[in-house]
């Protein structure tokens, strides 16, 4: 899923935190979410969040072992990012239901 996040400053600390959550290594390439530069000159960045494992990227699990997702803890705009993670988890749950 791809979200527009005009409040994002592009620090990509979320990628490091997420990679760490999955692998215990600060590895942004394993992160479930990626911050993508916009090419339309609009403010902010695009946030791509992977639901499932693919091409070495590990799907978002919403950090279900933590009170709050790790990416959200290290985000300047934590409330905005949290709504995206919640949307991803809802979508994932709904996909699983359909699949079943």
């Amino acid at each position: 899923m791809v979200f527009e996040m005009e409040e994002c400053g592009g620090c990509r600390t979320c990628e490091l935190a997420c990679g760490y959550h999955h692998t215990k290594v600060f590895n942004p390439s394993k992160s479930s979410l990626h911050v993508i530069n916009r090419s339309d000159n609009k403010p902010g960045f695009l946030i791509e969040i992977h639901l499932d494992n693919e091409d070495g990227i590990i799907g978002c699990d919403g950090c279900n072992d933590l009170e709050q997702p790790l990416c959200v803890i290290y985000c300047h705009k934590d409330e905005v990012l949290l709504t995206m993670i919640q949307a991803v988890i809802t979508e994932k749950a709904s996909n699983n239901k359909i699949f079943k």
């Binding site: 409040e7 935190a17 290594v25 390439s29 530069n37 916009r38 403010p43």
Partner: protein
């Protein structure tokens, strides 16, 4: 520091590329880590050991070394800095600059702590680094492009809109002595002319895109350290102010401290009427459309601006920081408040250091005012204060070395040597590097900027707190080990101690990759040497104490001094303020009438040398000092040269 079997957080390898013969090799980083702290610390060791005294900055034998911060690639607060170190075309000695850099993070994720580039490619090239794939690629199509066009072209060609790139612009290609290196359009490895060294090697750009990661030795201890520090930084008033206006939050304090150059430092405050018109905070309020910040940083001091009206309408860019405003807008007396935004973007596009531009154009404008430089020299241009059209034209003439710009591209020190006519007095430079720092009225700030081993500058031993209105005599006296009354910026006492502390702090921050604004350089509640020691120990598994960090960084500083003696022959005479700073009292503002007293300056410099264990007459490190720091053979090197 205790040796352990497993070392974490470092990638483990140094990548060496010889552009003359295309040879690509790696070596272990670990042979350096017990004596040096990483990044620019390892870089000076390599430069000192491997550059003969006959090497000149544009010689293929010069090396340019990129170093990733030891903590870069982790979520440590502000750990987003990569450094570049080389033999400087500007000073003729050591230079090193740090920049917020995703390329650094990706270099590390590719497995490399440092990148050492030597030789000269036969034609324009760029480097592509993705893990074990290291390629020297053709860059003929990129040569001649601005940095922004270069980055857009590479992102387009390599089909990745988020690709991280460092590159040079026309200034670097044309060997402008103050050419810089630009990272992702908006951040610069600014000082010393490292962009010209890249240009001399026909190296246009570096792309890194690693797929690995950074592992820390003791995750729980490390994360605890990070979280504690984040909380302190997030809850600070300084952070709140910087989030809103970045470094412009110090505008009023800088005016109070007589620390804003106006008309090339003839004044060090700006007229109140002008201050109202060009207040940079109003520009941010009016044009901000977004934010900009870098990995791990709890502050996030960047803003994205869109100019929707005025002469530069249509420009979108990250706002400049304080230095651009001070070194270009006020130094050149420009009244259009948008100018700082345009000037910053244009300097970034051309790949040229803003301080070099401000220093050389400011010198030329003052010389024009005094009749020393005339229209005959400038090709008919009127170099009048605040003339935006002329200033922007000069940016381009300097970057392409056209007409009068060819002279200014040498920097003000060399330009004044070339034209003579007693123009040297108007050069605001130290060790041939243009100053943006106002030296009068803040003595630790002045001492740090003047003795800086990379020439005029405030990132190698210059305490910011003195000029931004955040003095806390009680806490600062404890931090620096001085009497509380000597925290007073006008006192000459206690200043050597402040500078020596800051020399260690800033070197450690650069080596670890931590932005200075996340350290006690910016706010006494932020990261100090004990916190750096904790972060480093928990991240690498190499236990280190604050005292050991001090020793290692002093070792580094002494080697920078030795490198400068070998290549630039800098001595005590080069640790003196500019002629103007010694001759003229502060003319306006709250400190009007205050003047540097040369006898007191010399006594302060004596004390600084004495505390360092350097010879009072020459400023050179003594044998005893070098022996103590484990640099015994360096003494023989120095004395073989002199």
């Amino acid at each position: 520091m205790s040796k352990t079997k497993n070392i974490y957080c470092y990638a483990g390898k140094i990548l060496r590329i010889n552009l003359s013969n295309g040879k690509i090799e790696t070596e272990s980083t670990f042979k350096y880590v017990n004596d040096w702290l990483g990044s620019s610390g390892i870089a000076i060791k390599i430069l000192y050991d491997e550059l003969y005294s006959w090497v000149s900055p544009f010689d293929p034998a010069n090396k340019i070394i990129f170093g990733t911060g030891v903590l870069q690639g982790t979520i440590a607060p502000g750990a987003c800095k990569m450094t570049v170190s080389t033999l400087s075309p500007m000073t003729g000695g050591w230079t090193s600059g740090a920049s917020d850099s995703y390329v650094g993070g990706h270099l590390k994720c590719s497995g490399y702590d440092l990148l050492v580039i030597s030789g000269k490619a036969h034609k324009p090239v760029y480097l592509y680094i993705k893990d074990n794939l290291v390629e020297i690629r053709d860059a003929e199509d990129l040569w001649g492009k601005t940095t922004w066009d270069t980055i857009d072209t590479l992102r387009n060609d390599l089909k990745d809109p988020s690709l991280h790139v460092i590159c040079i612009g026309p200034a670097g290609e044309n060997l402008v002595r103050g050419a810089c290196i630009i990272q992702d359009k908006v951040r610069a490895f600014g000082r010393g002319g490292s962009g010209a060294v890249m240009g001399s090697k026909n190296l246009k750009a570096i792309v890194a895109n690693g797929s690995g990661g950074v592992q820390v030795a003791q995750p729980e201890r490390f994360i605890n350290n990070v979280n504690k520090l984040r909380e302190r930084i997030l809850n600070s008033d300084t952070t709140n102010k910087m989030r809103k206006y970045g470094t412009y939050s110090c505008f009023d304090a800088k005016q109070d401290a007589s620390s804003i150059p106006y008309k090339n430092f003839q004044f060090v405050t700006i007229p109140d009427e002008l201050a109202k018109v060009i207040d940079p905070r109003k520009v941010i309020d009016k044009y901000q459309i977004g934010r900009s910040c870098f990995p791990g940083c709890p502050i996030g001091c960047g803003q994205t601006l869109y100019l929707y009206d005025g002469d530069f309408s249509g420009l979108t860019t990250e706002k400049s920081q304080w230095e651009v405003f001070s070194t270009l807008q006020t130094r050149l007396a420009v009244e259009d408040p948008q100018f700082m935004v345009k000037a910053n973007a244009l300097a970034n596009q051309l790949g040229v250091d803003v301080d070099m531009l401000g220093g050389s154009i400011g010198w030329a404008m003052e010389c024009f005012e005094k009749g020393i430089i005339t229209e005959e020299d400038t090709g008919g241009m009127q170099l009048s204060w605040g003339n935006v059209e002329v200033i922007i034209k000069l940016f381009e003439m300097i970057s392409y070395r056209k007409g009068f710009g060819d002279l200014l591209a040498e920097g003000c020190a060399r330009a004044s040597e070339i034209i003579g006519r007693n123009s040297k007095y108007y050069c605001m430079q130290i060790k041939r590097q243009e100053l943006y720092e106002s030296l009068r009225g803040a003595m630790a700030w002045a001492l740090g900027a003047v003795v800086s081993t990379r020439g005029g500058g405030h990132t190698t031993g210059t305490p910011q707190l003195e000029t931004v209105g955040r003095l806390d005599p009680e806490r600062m006296s404890k931090l620096y080990g001085i009497d509380p009354k000597d925290v007073d910026p006008l006192s000459y006492e206690g200043k050597p101690e402040i500078v020596i502390f800051t020399e260690s702090l800033q070197r450690a921050a650069n080596c670890l990759g931590i932005c200075h604004f996340n350290t006690v350089w910016n706010d006494l509640d932020f990261i100090g040497l004990p916190e750096m020691a904790e972060l480093y120990s928990s991240a690498t598994g190499l236990e280190i104490s604050p005292e050991e960090i001090k020793t290692i960084t002093l070792r580094q500083l002494n080697l920078e001094k030795a490198f400068n003696i070998r290549h630039a022959k800098f001595s005590r005479k080069d640790d003196m303020p500019t002629a103007r700073d010694l001759a003229e009292p502060i003319p306006t503002g709250k400190l009007a009438g205050w003047k540097i007293e040369i006898d007191k300056w010399n006594a302060m410099l004596d004390k600084y040398y004495e505390l360092h264990g350097w010879d009072l007459k020459t400023g050179y490190p003594t044998k005893h000092t070098l022996d103590t720091l484990g640099l015994g053979s360096v003494y023989d090197d120095i004395h073989n040269i002199i």
